[in-house]
């Protein structure tokens, strides 16, 4: 127990440190003192504008996106009882991507771009619904859900690629950036779009901890212990979809956070979901914030999408983790 609290505290510290560093670093270096000046209203106009209009919303978005994806992943891994499950696997991300790319291809220009996150969210929801229906055969088993999810995501991937290739405006750059996952130019509107989902679903998920823990023991044990397996599974999956869908709708298809963060969390604090969930959230937030920080500072004047780094760092790390844990189940 002590270890968990310590870990959590440490992560919160790291989170704040990352946030503070992110505020200071960027195209223009703003020292901590100047940051504080800006907050108290005495900073230079340029600094204040950069911090409040660009960096803070971007950092906050990255934080929320990371936390949401991480928790979505940890729910999935618990419910599916497999450490390799993630929102990308189920096709949720794929559905959001297809909808977003469809929007960019056909509607951008005629419809305000503020509707992009909404369409992405709708795509995620639609795909999840279809997924659930296809997977329903007197109930839904995790296995069937995953398998059909894999099929769905392949389908979505094919459709998305085609829309990119045959874009009548011949402009694949925007689409590819979205697909890689980026929080460039995130504004407060994005934050406000995402915040309700995260703020409501995270605590709700905590309430379902017991059910996730039981689900990890297997369907039979779960049923006999009184847990209403189907219902709980449905609720948890809906939470996962909502978290992942909302995160992806704002941040694009950022990959690996949902896969990696729960893993790292489990390695740090064990398998009890009550501990895993918050720790994953913190880790996810840190990962995305760091990825975005690197993306916008390491290649100036280019702004590399955060998704490149979540993949670049996340993937080898993931392989390492899996190999290291190969003898645990």
């Amino acid at each position: 127990m002590k270890k968990t609290s310590l870990t959590a505290y440490l992560l919160v510290v790291v989170l704040f440190a990352t946030a503070i560093i992110s505020v200071c670093l960027g195209d223009m270096y703003i020292s901590l003192f100047q940051v504080i000046q800006s907050f108290t209203g005495k900073g230079s106009e340029a600094h204040t504008m950069i911090i409040e209009m660009l960096r803070l919303p971007r950092i906050t978005t990255a934080l929320l996106v990371g936390a949401s994806l991480a928790v979505a992943g940890s729910i999935l891994q618990g419910v599916v009882r497999n450490p390799m499950a993630s929102p990308e696997i189920l096709g949720v991300t794929g559905g959001a991507s297809a909808a977003a790319i469809a929007f960019l291809t056909f509607a951008a220009g005629t419809v305000s771009i503020r509707w992009l996150p909404v369409s992405a969210l709708a795509g995620a929801g639609a795909v999840s619904l279809v997924l659930y229906v296809f997977a329903w055969k007197r109930g839904v088993t995790s296995m069937r859900l995953i398998l059909i999810g894999v099929g769905m995501s392949a389908l979505m991937s094919g459709v998305t690629t085609m829309m990119i290739v045959f874009n009548p405006k011949n402009d694949a750059g925007q689409a590819y950036t979205w697909l890689t996952g980026s929080v460039y130019a995130a504004n407060w509107e994005n934050v406000l779009l995402l915040l309700p989902w995260t703020a409501i679903l995270l605590p709700l998920t905590m309430l379902m901890t017991r059910h996730v823990n039981i689900a990890q023991l297997g369907d039979d044990i779960a049923t006999s212990s009184g847990s209403r397996v189907q219902l709980n599974r449905f609720i948890l999956l809906m939470f996962s979809v909502a978290l992942a869908g909302s995160a992806v709708s704002v941040g694009g298809a950022i990959g690996f956070v949902g896969l990696l963060a729960p893993h790292m969390a489990r390695k740090l604090v064990g398998a009890n979901f009550r501990r895993v969930m918050p720790v994953s959230a913190l880790l996810g937030a840190i990962i995305v914030m760091l990825a975005d920080l690197i993306g916008r500072t390491a290649f100036i004047p280019l702004d590399v999408p955060a998704g490149v780094f979540t993949a670049a760092i996340g993937a080898p790390f993931f392989i390492y983790l899996l190999y290291a844990r190969r003898n645990e189940s």
Binding site: N82, M84, K137, I146, I148, A154, S157, M162, F256, Y323
Partner: protein
């Protein structure tokens, strides 16, 4: 509807399949944005007249395309059948288990960031990518208690596919110009593929086909269960490595020519098993023929859907194959 599968029937079926294949090959020559006649096709093959636009089109664009479709279709189908046997998983295939994705990423990386354009080099790079992906997925899927379960390996494959896809997107996001180098290739397209590439890769493919067929008996034994096979004196370890190598060459080669084309490896083995049964000595030839036919059919259809442009065949196979995949998944992985 069960009919007795005797060798006689199977042979007849195979012969019928070969005829069907020929028909589809010819159809691929004839149909498209413009339809040509038998006569034109015949003449372009035997009495080639460079002045005739029709004949030039048939001979220089349609013929290589048909041959490539057939070769890749056969290769992917065989690769899928082998993977399904090896992992005892009816949903295994080069696309699902990340082999295609690994090969694609390596090719994209080489072509875009390292500006490799030598065909031979790209082919070997594709092989390497396929091999690495296959090994990782196999190891991840077998790791931990319970060994290689169908679900684990599918998840490992999906994770690896996502990984390589992210990497590929990353490369393209970093080098926006690179997008135009590989854009069409990434969708899985047979149109406009150079026959030179086929020429280079074909020997490897052919050897793989024959090797797969030669290993058929060993594979039959393997399906009885690994313990049983070992008990019967089979050196399963060697067999698995050999099969793995064949899959890598078939999948990697296909990806090198036409980019990642999915679902042929899942759908065709099932179809073939339905017709010919699980004896690999028949299954493999059936897969080859059916795979070739299916991809040819998909490619022909792809010419008509988005006139004047053409839909990439990889998208067609995804749109047809994904529902099939989901249907099988629904039935469950009973093995």
């Amino acid at each position: 509807m069960r009919f007795t599968r005797t060798n006689g029937w199977r042979a007849a079926g195979l012969a019928a399949g070969a005829v069907l294949l020929l028909i589809f090959l010819v159809a691929s020559l004839l149909f498209g944005a413009k339809n040509y006649t038998w006569k034109a096709a015949w003449e372009s093959l035997v009495r080639y007249d460079e002045e005739s636009v029709e004949q030039v089109i048939i001979r220089t664009t349609r013929l290589p395309r048909a041959l490539i479709a057939a070769a890749i279709g056969a290769s992917l189908a065989i690769a899928g059948a082998l993977m399904q046997t090896l992992t005892r998983n009816p949903l295994a295939s080069p696309s699902v288990l990340g082999v295609n994705a690994g090969a694609s990423f390596f090719v994209v990386f080489a072509a875009v960031l390292l500006s490799v354009s030598n065909l031979q080099a790209l082919m070997w790079i594709s092989f390497i990518g396929a091999a690495i992906a296959a090994v990782i997925v196999y190891v991840l899927g077998s790791a931990g208690r319970g060994g290689l379960t169908p679900l684990k390996i599918i998840l490992a494959g999906a994770a690896m596919t996502a990984l390589f896809a992210s990497f590929t997107q990353g490369v393209l996001a970093l080098d926006k110009q690179g997008l135009s180098t590989v854009l069409f290739w990434l969708t899985g397209t047979i149109a406009g593929r150079s026959p030179d590439m086929l020429g280079i890769i074909f020997p490897y493919m052919a050897i793989s086909w024959v090797s797969a067929w030669l290993l058929a008996k060993g594979l039959n034994i393997l399906t009885m269960g690994e313990e049983t096979a070992k008990g019967l004196g089979q050196r399963t370890y060697l067999l698995k490595i050999a099969v793995g190598a064949i899959v890598v060459v078939l999948a990697g080669g296909s990806v090198a020519i036409a980019g990642p084309i999915g679902f042929i490896g899942i759908v065709v083995p099932h179809l073939s098993r339905y017709i010919a049964g699980i004896d690999h000595r028949w299954l493999i030839p059936y897969c080859a023929v059916c795979g070739a036919i299916l991809l040819l059919a998909a490619d022909i259809c792809a010419r008509f859907i988005m006139i004047p442009e053409e839909m990439p065949v990889g998208v067609m196979t995804a749109v047809i194959g994904a529902p099939f995949f989901m249907y099988i998944a629904r039935r469950g992985l009973s093995k």
